[in-house]
Amino acid sequence: MNAPPPLQKAARLWQRLPFRHMMAIVVILYIFGKKQPFPLSNFPMYSGISEEADVYFATDQADRPLAMDRVFDTGSSNTKKLFKTKLSSLLSETSAKSGEPRRDTEDATEAERATVGKDTLDTLVRSMKQGNLPPGTTAVRLYSRTFSLADSDTIQDQAPKLLAEHPLSPPAP
C-alpha cells in the first residue's frame, strides 16, 4: 500500500536534505538538549559571552587557599556550578512563593548569596577529607573572585568576596 501523498513528499524532501542524518542529530540536540538531560546536550559552553567571570575557591581561617581537589574531592569549577544551581533553585522557590517574576542569578541579593554560600560550603564540608587539611586549620571559608572588563580596557581583578565560613570542631591536627 502506498503512503499518503504528504508523507511521500516529506520522504522525498528528507532524501534531498543535505547532510540529513547529521541535521537530524543537530535538531534533536538543539531542541531536546536544551535542558541537557544526559546524555543529550546542545553543548552550550561559553555560548553566552559576558564582561565578567567569577571563580570560586576555599581558604582556611587566615585566607590561605586550600587545594580543592585534594581537600574537598571537587574543583573550583564544580563549586561554582553547584553555587549557581542552588542559587537558581532558591530564586525559583522565592518567585513561586511571592508570585513575582523569577530573577536572574546576577540579580540575587547579598542575603540570598550568603544563604546559598553557606549551603554550598556545607556541601563541600560534607565531602571534606580532614586528613588533607593543612595542620592547624580551624575554619574553612568560601570566596568568589570576579574578573571584569566592564568599563575598562584592562582586566579588573576585583577583591574576593566572602560567601560563607564554617568553623571546624575539632580543628585539623
Partner: protein, 297 residues
C-alpha cells in the same frame, strides 16, 4: 537509520558510510570500547542523592549506584560485552551493559547539580551505534555484516559532527550572531579558568596566560580571528562526513582547536580528542593502512 545503507553513488552533501575495511572497523571498535569503558565514572560511592534530578533521574532513582557501586563483577560483565562488540558478535547484547552504566552513572552524577560536558559525546556515540545494531538485529543480529558495521561507525561519526555543529550554532544563536564580535571578552574566561585550575591544585598559574588574556583585550581583532576560527571549525564540522580525506584533515583541525583551548584555558576535553582520533584520524591516516583493498559487503 536504514537509508544510509544505499550503495549508489552520492553527491558530497548526502554522505553515507565510509568504505572502511574489516581491519579498520575492528580498530575503531577496539579504540572506542576502551574509550567508552574509561568514559564511565565507575566511582559512584559519594553520589548518595539526586537533589537536582537530570533526565532519567526524574523517573528513576539512581542512588542505588552509590549504595551498591558496580564492583569488578559488573565491570567484568561490561568488559565482556565490549569484547563481543569489538569482535563483532552480538553487538546489541555486547553494548548493553556499557550503555546502561554510561547513561545511569552519567545521569546520577549530573543530578548532583553541577553540569559537566565531558561524557555526553562518547555516550551518545555508543547509543547511536547500539540503536543501529538494534534496528538491524533481525537481519544480522548475531554477526552483523560489513555494511552494518560501516553503518554503526558512520552513525558514531554523525554524532561527532552533530555535536560540534550544534555547539557552534548555539553560540551563534545565543549571542544573536555577535559571538565573534564579542569574543575579546573571553579574556576574562581565560583568567577565570586558569585561576580555577590554581585553586584546584595550588599549582602556580602560568604567567603567560594572564599576559595572553590582556593581549586578547588589547588586540580585539586578533581575538576575533582566533576564537572565530574555532567557531568556524565547530559550525563546519559536518565536513568530516564528506569523505575520508575530509575526515582526516578536518579531524586534525578539531584536535588543534582542542589543543588551543587546552593551552589557553586549561580546559581539557580528552574524551572528545580521543573520539576524534579513533573515528577520524587513525582510520584515515594517509599511508598507515596501505593501499585500499576492495572488500565484499
Amino acid at each position: 537509520m536504514n537509508d544510509a545503507l544505499e550503495t549508489s553513488p552520492r553527491p558530497w552533501w548526502q554522505p553515507g558510510p565510509f568504505d572502511y575495511s574489516r581491519a579498520q572497523l575492528f580498530m575503531i571498535r577496539l579504540g572506542f570500547a576502551a574509550l567508552l569503558f574509561w568514559n564511565i565514572k565507575w566511582e559512584t560511592r559519594k553520589y548518595t542523592h539526586q537533589d537536582h534530578p537530570n533526565g532519567l533521574a526524574h523517573l528513576f532513582d539512581f542512588t542505588w549506584l552509590a549504595t551498591s557501586p558496580p564492583g569488578w563483577g559488573l565491570k567484568g560483565l561490561t568488559i565482556a560485552g565490549l569484547v563481543l562488540y569489538v569482535v563483532g558478535i552480538l553487538p546489541v547484547l555486547g553494548l548493553l551493559p556499557a550503555v546502561f552504566f554510561a547513561v545511569s552513572i552519567g545521569t546520577l552524577i549530573l543530578s548532583q547539580g553541577p553540569m559537566q560536558h565531558s561524557w555526553q559525546l562518547v555516550t551518545m556515540m555508543a547509543l547511536a551505534q547500539f540503536i543501529v545494531y538494534l534496528v538491524h538485529a533481525r537481519r544480522s543480529g548475531l554477526k552483523p555484516d560489513l555494511q552494518i558495521q560501516r553503518l554503526a561507525t558512520y552513525w558514531g561519526t554523525v554524532v561527532i559532527a552533530g555535536g560540534y555543529v550544534v555547539c557552534g550554532l548555539v553560540k551563534v544563536i545565543e549571542s544573536n550572531g555577535l559571538w565573534i564580535w564579542k569574543s575579546p571578552y573571553l579574556a576574562v574566561q581565560v583568567m577565570k579558568t586558569n585561576w580555577a585550575s590554581f585553586y584546584d591544585s595550588l599549582e602556580p598559574t602560568r604567567e603567560w596566560t594572564q599576559q595572553a588574556a590582556q593581549f586578547l583585550v588589547d588586540h580585539p581583532w586578533f581575538a576575533r580571528a582566533f576564537f572565530g576560527s574555532g567557531l568556524l571549525i565547530e559550525v563546519l564540522a559536518f565536513a568530516i562526513l564528506i569523505n575520508r580525506r575530509w575526515a582526516f584533515w578536518f579531524g586534525l583541525s578539531m584536535v588543534s582547536l582542542h589543543w588551543g583551548i587546552s593551552e589557553l584555558m586549561n580546559l581539557h576535553f580528552i574524551q572528545h580528542i580521543l573520539a576524534i582520533l579513533i573515528f577520524l584520524i587513525i582510520p584515515n591516516f594517509p599511508g598507515l593502512w596501505g593501499k585500499k583493498a576492495p572488500e565484499a559487503a
